[in-house]
Symmetry: C2
Subunit: 363 residues, 2 copies
């Protein structure tokens, strides 16, 4: 059976002041309707019913995560007592899935990305499941065809096309994986794009739960042993205590470094859907559209001579703008941001500096 695993432990400040330490991006309602987390669940419906959806999140986010996803069984919201990167996260979910369903296929989904074409997403997942069903050793990665020479993503260099894999009536294809390249310079990324052989690694994976555990056993045996030890407690009363005690001892490492970069059974499936990591406020117009003046507005706004701004206000607070352009203006109950649009690194730096400015309460 196909299970969905939403990785929802992320933190981050790129959506400050709407996002905070205890209310990260995936819990925000950026499109005005559903949070990115909820949308991640939604786009798997109805073909992965909530009873087969799993969520891994952090302790401080667990209550809000459960509140936002009432459809998901409480036992399937796995709570990490602390963040240990993606290998323990994926491993924990695989351990639980395999305990319930030894032949489970596992679709790994980041909670904080946007996919604007849910139908094509479903098609892509079906193709990935076909690939796994036809060879249960396969680890399928979704590769997104890059649209610009991004320097902040990981790239997957594809190898030869998989023989016999004619997917979605030939409208997409799967390839072997030649190499991974993390965060290249803009020159290198430009060269990547020119070859046509590189994809963005969007963090969506599909594999047998058992198979990824085998990968962990082979390349990170200690980490695997820790997970196997935990597995014995799953669905018993001692589970919560076991996780709280033993999870923090697991090695902090990404699933890419732990398994994917070493394993030989990888394949990359060209994603047949539109993907957006919603990296910052500047991404909001892609998600929500913009008005005739290029403004993306959520909340009460009165503007004059205002262009290409992202404006967000909560609780009936009025944001008025005069003679401004290319700004991000976000009002929340206790803090307001006014920033040049696209100045994401500076925003990160600013939020990082709040504690040293005596403003830790706003982080």
């Amino acid at each position: 059976m196909l299970h969905g695993v939403i990785m929802a432990g992320g933190s981050g400040t790129r959506f400050w002041p709407a996002s905070r330490q205890h209310r990260p991006k995936q819990l925000l309602t950026l499109d005005g309707h559903r949070s990115l987390l909820q949308a991640t669940l939604d786009r798997c419906q109805p073909w992965i019913p909530p009873e087969r959806m799993w969520v891994v999140t952090g302790e401080s986010l667990a209550a809000e995560t459960a509140r936002q996803l009432p459809e998901v069984p409480a036992s399937q919201i796995l709570v990490e007592p602390c963040g240990r990167n993606t290998a323990p996260c994926v491993g924990l979910a695989a351990t639980c899935l395999a305990a319930r369903d030894p032949d489970a296929t596992m679709l790994v989904l980041p909670a904080d990305h946007a996919i604007q074409t849910p139908r094509q997403f479903q098609d892509g997942v079906a193709a990935a499941v076909d690939l796994v069903n036809s060879d249960s050793q396969r680890l399928v990665l979704f590769g997104v065809r890059p649209s610009y020479p991004a320097t902040g993503y990981g790239y997957i260099e594809r190898a030869e096309r998989l023989p016999g894999a004619s997917l979605l009536g030939g409208s997409t294809a799967a390839f072997g994986v030649k190499a991974f390249r993390e965060k290249p310079s803009v020159e290198v990324a430009t060269a990547f794009l020119q070859t046509g052989q590189y994809y963005w690694n969007c963090g969506i994976f599909c594999w047998r739960a058992r198979r990824i555990l085998e990968g962990l056993a082979r390349f990170e045996p200690e980490l695997h042993a820790g997970l196997a030890n935990l597995a014995a407690s799953f669905d018993t009363p001692s589970w919560d205590t076991a996780v709280r005690e033993r999870f923090p001892q697991l090695k902090s490492i990404s699933i890419d470094y732990a398994v994917l970069e070493h394993d030989r059974d990888l394949c990359v499936l060209e994603a047949p859907f539109g993907w957006d990591d919603v990296g910052s406020w500047a991404a909001l117009p892609r998600l929500r559209g913009a008005d005739a003046a290029g403004n993306t507005v959520d909340g009460l706004h009165a503007g004059l001579d205002t262009q290409d701004c992202v404006i967000r206000s909560a609780d009936g607070h009025l944001v008025a703008t005069v003679g401004v352009r290319d700004l991000v203006i976000v009002h929340t109950a206790d803090a307001t941001l006014v920033a040049r649009k696209g100045d994401d690194d500076s925003l990160k730096k600013l939020v990082g500096s709040l504690a040293s400015r005596g403003l830790a309460g706003f982080q």
Copy 2:
């Protein structure tokens, strides 16, 4: 005796959203310590004690005005039931003053200007009082030497220097008045500056209360009759009712148009003090200074790459700025403004449009 009359009925939106219909500029604490109204009182102390200070204000502002000026006797806070421009305002105060002190000298002071040199202000007033004492027919206007070709002010063209008037040891001078010129074009204003014969009319006047009433009697006899009629009720229990009933019937006209532009006994005293009408948020750096990055900040602020901004926040709300310059950012409990600095006319237009946008409550 010298009495001070603060004209504090002004409304306006140039300091929106801090200023509102019922909380105009003079009631705001723009310098972080005292409101412009309070500062107007302060700079007359101790040489005009509060018992000789008078305030004329509007009904909706009366309570806050009295709260801000507890030193001023309640009977000397005169409340206009509606705004009728400055001639009825000055006339009302003159009427009351003359009733209490027939020989009163009256110093008329706008409530919403800033004077950064109180000592020189006191010297200037002393010189004006000397001019009035030496000729009780004189109407003394303070003229501010223009520093740029402003188009929003009234100009006073000076005539010949008053014979024998050596004021402040020769450091300032008084002149006859040749003409008034309201709000010239920038070309005309530039020409005014080049002649060296023009002053800004800053709205500070000095004269005998009786003398300005005589001027009103001569040039606006009906208005004067209305005031004389009111005078009979001053310091009686029927005063409030009388004002409420009869004041609205007075002609709405400025003291400039009503008397000053017709009277022959005018003189203009070159103001020996720094004067600022604090016309908009952009004036705040002159009032409060700016930090090394050119920012003028009042309230909680965290900035990165932020230059030449005016930032104001109330109630411990954090305003964070990244990569911006030349902005006015003002946060209040229910509304936040982000505007290009100096775009005052657009701000006025925007605030004027709030009602038609269904946002009248924010005006």
